[in-house]
Amino acid sequence: MTDLTELGVAAIRDGIAKGDFTAVEVAEAFNANVAAAQEALNAFIVVTPEKALEAAKATDAKRAKGEALGIMGGVPIGMKDLFATKGVQTTAASHILEGFTPEYESTVSQKLWDAGAGMLGKLNLDQFAMGSSNETSYFGNVISPWRRKDGGNAALAPGGSSGGSSTAVSARLAPAATGTDTGGSIRQPAAFTGISGIKPTYGRCSRWGIVAFASSLDQAGPMARDVRDCAIMLEAMAGFDPKDSTSLDMPVPAWEAGLSGDLKGKKVGIPREYRMDGMDADVAASWDAGIAWLKDAGAEIVDVSLPHTKYALPAYYIIAPAEASSNLARYDGVRYGLRDLPEGSGLQDMYAATRAAGFGAEVKRRILIGTYVLSAGFYDAYYTQAQKVRTLIAQDFKNAFTLCDVILAPTAPTAAFGLGEKSDDPLAMYLNDVFAVPASLAGLPAMSVPAGLNREGLPLGLQIVGKQFDEQGVLNAGLAIEQRAAFSAKPEKWW
């Protein structure tokens, strides 16, 4: 029998529907992989094999009765531990939420269960989704399943913040996983681990029940092995939700049915500002290969300009911490989560002690920056200026899209780096998101697909950015690359 954990979303769904194997067999196979990898990779904060099995039994029972199985029917997935899951601890990888057990289910996770998916567990991440290497989790680092082919055993970063998700999918612990993307947190980890991931247009997926980081940027999306699997899962996740005031009241397109790698008549923009001095040679080469592949798929390549690119990251590191400082004010030791009440202290001391004990260093750093840039006397110089620059960045994309349909760029400036290599220097870590953040600031759909391996044997990703609401254009360009890159590398099992 084939190894079921080598199958993706479409193959599992279709195989169960045809009767090649049962949903329970699939769930058991992935549960076993999850359990065997937990100690070495630390991809999950909580494992829920019983939930995966329960959903699988429901799928098998439906099939026996001849009922429809749903577009994710029988597919077990990993759930980033930023989504509230009823009755299952939800921590955002923080100490302050340790033990928090939601009384409700997030809209996106509920939609996935309604579509027939089951939950393998809650995936580790950077604390409150703040990080690019999964080194800020209170529950320990996630280790990438990938290793450099230099014979060394250096532990590599799986990317962040959705590092548990990227590790789980690339190590075959799950055929797919949810991610969230505030400034690249789906795309960069996907690129680091040789998988695909898409952040849809801001508002496509409801934010209700997702632990908030920076609300004007946060967007959920799928991470999976290929473009088709991403299209299927995004269809299950997206849709209007009256409980999220920024939810898009639009129908969800049939993205899977609309997939086509034929790009005849399409124009692909290459942003000249992304070709930076001292660019990694392998990353530059993979970008050139991507251009050739899209040309081969029938697209016309055009040069475009996004003149404010260099200001995207500094604007992001004002806006995101500002929103975070406001969002994270809710963690005060009163209504849920940790409470630290020093002997004889009052309410204000309790707040300060609780937050000191409950937040990690990076979270504190960002709250302090956010508090500073929003404080009296500095608000206009920092926050208002950053929001004006954000308008200019969105305009850059609007102008570029008068000349092209999608934009092609690298996802990250390098392949995965080693754990500990950048963790002492916040700025060096932030610069990792240089190519990912502009699309986040403009709210645009953007996807990373694997393009190949660098000279160290590590995956590199290519990023496609589309017009607002044009996830289909993004997925199709991703598919055209996927068909030509023929990426089949996977991490050699050492765990």
Binding site: E103, Y202, V334, L338, L347, Q348, Y351, T391, A394, G443
Partner: protein, 100 residues
């Protein structure tokens, strides 16, 4: 603009995060490094540019004026609301004494 230990201590107090003197001292160069880097935004000519308020144009909706229209957010779920409280007492959130 740069921050000194007094400013960091003040921000930490505003943010309700207790920091030791050593933590404040360590935070000063970190925050200054980040602030010096974001300073480059000052170079951008923003004459006549409005600050962004909504990244994707959308209209503000009001929910239907019906009690409990959505059972998830409709109320009447006191015990569920209190279920995760560190110190729920008599159907309320328990807090230390507020007025001396």
């Amino acid at each position: 603009m740069s921050v000194d230990t007094a400013t960091v201590a003040k921000i930490a107090a505003l943010a309700r995060i207790k920091l030791s003197e050593g933590e404040v001292a360590a935070m000063v160069p970190e925050l200054n490094g980040i602030l010096a880097w974001v300073e480059q935004l000052g170079e951008v000519d923003v004459t006549g540019i409005e600050p962004m308020t909504a990244v994707i144009e959308n209209k503000q909706r009001l929910r239907a004026d019906v009690i409990g229209a959505d059972p998830l957010t409709g109320g009447g779920v006191r015990d569920a609301v209190l279920a995760n409280a560190p110190a729920a007492e008599h159907g309320f959130f328990g807090v230390p004494k507020v007025i001396e």
